[in-house]
Amino acid sequence: MELKEKLVSSFLAFENTVDVDAPVHDIRSQAIKVFEEKGFPTKKEEAWKYTSLNAILKHDYSIFPKEENALEFKDVKKYFLHDLDTYKIVFIDGKYSSHLSETTHDKIDVCLMSSALTHDKYKPVIDNYFNKVAQKDGLTSLNTAFSKEGAYIYIPKNKLADKPIQIIHFSTGKESLQLLQPRNLIVVEENSHVQIIERHQSLTSNPVLTNSVTEIFADKRAIVDYYKIQNDNETASLIDNTYIQQQAQSIASVHTFAFGGNITRNNLNFYQQGQGIDSILNGVTILEGKQHVDHNTLVHHTEPNCESHQDYKGIFDEKATGVFNGKIIVNKEAQKTNAFQSNNNILLSDKATINSKPQLEIFADDVKCSHGCTIGQLDEQALFYMRSRGIGEKEARALLMYAFANNVLESVKIPQLKQRINKLIANKLGVNIGFDL
């Protein structure tokens, strides 16, 4: 049976595990119909031209985790940002691990989607926000249909989340091949601030496919900083659908560090609904082998005096392939918009590929929009210059690549995270050198 049929027919079984009378279940039921109609995207669709899911959809995934798997903290410590005090929402094979987590209900809610969807206390927030910004494409609808577990973060008005929040999804592969569908909801009310770090980590060589949906709502003057660490092993694929709705004068930033995985697709969508909004999309991609990363971004400017800044840097070695497709829409009403987009790439091998495509749809006449894309090699003159000063070839290459990615790293606001990313990059580049750029 094909995966699509299997998923559609599993929906009945899924219904036995949830409260079908809850209003949210109407949303699920509608979503499975949409998925049944639209199915998985194919390369015939413009937005999926360079990314084929065929190879990863042919596996016979298990859709529901059958048993609880436990992990010892010491075995997975390295995947945590452990030198920093944080809240943690941790899942193992799609199931919540209370053992590894640290949640809170003290002034703010950092807890589970499964509670939020079933307890009356959360009903107003769920009614107002759940599935309100997520789009109705096939993959998102599939996630919506099976939405049950994930992270739920609610920061009420005038609150500062007192420490960053880590959301980590582990897959152990103890029970064959897994399809995981986490569903996250993050609501940050007026004048509030939160920092979130998200990571998906496979601990198995069995194929894992994650189809994740995250909805983020940044109310007036809210500040949301979201960091995605994508450094998974070569049998894990990720489709990350993130939808952010921003109100007046809010600032939302998403950093995506794509350092590994089989196929990674980031659908990152910003919808602005007010004036004086700033949306920031930064990315560093470093890939080798046959890894593939596709960054598909959308920023929709609907009102005057807003900004968006996109800066994606990519380094591709061996047969790695990358895609950057950045769409900016500026509505007729959105005068005085400043929208910037840049995508710079270095190809280290003849067989590495990057497809970079800006898509600007501008209907206002008084705007500043710019986009730029470069594809090049490491500068040989610069390498010789550095080597003539005693810096070894490998280190010189690494230093040049660090420098290339530097401005994106500089914008990471959590020092421990910045340090960790630096270390991940050093490991990736195979150097042991303490650059503090």
Binding site: A382, R387, R389, G390, L400, F404, I433
Partner: protein, 250 residues
């Protein structure tokens, strides 16, 4: 210290050096002059270890050791320094961090511990004062947006930091006004000792008023065709290179 014997070198099958001989001893300053296209910068790049050039004949010995098979960084570890005619801009790497990395990588290769941060800062302060370099300048990206003169001064600052055994200054005077030239020359002179040597490559006699050479060589068509003392530089300044070409062709 440096002994170049019958050096032939080409790039993309074009022969540029055609049997060059040069011997530089510790404590000496040599000037190499010559018309454009004679091979001066090629010589500098080959000694520093640039890989595009192929040495087809002859040898380069540093303290008696053939360095032909050594990579650029290994030559740097042995004390070779090239002040670039066109220093490369490296956005994202500050002057200070570049120097820290260069010095510590060199020390690592020499089997030494990394230089303690305190000592490093002290050294940076001393050497930047020597070259009249503003502290703010050190936290800028390497060579990015520097004026021609700033780039050259920064090269000599790097030389001062690296304390090389053999320094090759490739047209360090070009792009410098007279004040900057004095500062740079003064920096080079302060670094001179009986244990190191300097090769100054230049078009003009001007720099040699400040960095006084023990020997002056004329490089023409891939060979050193004439050698002399500092008076030769004055003669070249006055008469140009045509009389040398005539002398050779005669």
């Amino acid at each position: 210290m440096l002994e170049i014997k019958d050096l032939h070198a080409s790039v993309e099958d074009k022969e540029i050096l055609k049997g060059l001989n040069l011997e530089v001893k510790a404590g000496e300053v040599h000037a190499i002059m010559g018309p454009n296209g004679a091979g001066k910068s090629t010589l500098a790049s080959i000694v520093a270890g640039k890989e595009e050039y192929e040495v087809t004949e002859g040898s380069i010995l540093l303290d008696g050791e053939d360095i032909e098979d050594l990579a650029a960084e290994e030559r740097a570890h042995k004390g070779v320094f090239l002040s670039f005619q066109y220093p490369v801009e490296i956005p994202g790497v500050t002057v200070t961090n570049f120097m820290k990395t260069a010095i510590n990588e060199t020390r690592k290769a020499q089997g030494l511990e990394e230089m303690p941060a305190k000592d490093m800062l002290k050294k940076i302060r001393e050497k930047s004062e020597l070259l009249d370099i503003d502290r703010k300048f050190l936290s800028r990206s390497l060579n990015q947006g520097f004026s021609g003169g700033e780039k050259k001064r920064n090269e000599i600052f790097q030389m001062a930091m690296m304390e090389p055994k053999l320094a090759i200054l490739d047209e360090t005077d070009s792009g410098l006004d007279i004040d900057a030239l004095r500062i740079v020359a003064n920096g080079v002179n302060k670094l001179k000792s009986k244990d190191n040597a300097v090769i100054v490559i230049t078009h003009y006699q001007r720099l040699l008023d400040y960095i006084v050479p023990d020997y002056v060589h004329v490089l023409y068509d891939g060979k050193i065709v004439k050698s002399g003392t500092k008076e030769l530089a004055l003669q070249l300044e006055e008469k140009g290179y045509d009389w040398i070409k005539e002398e050779i062709n005669a």
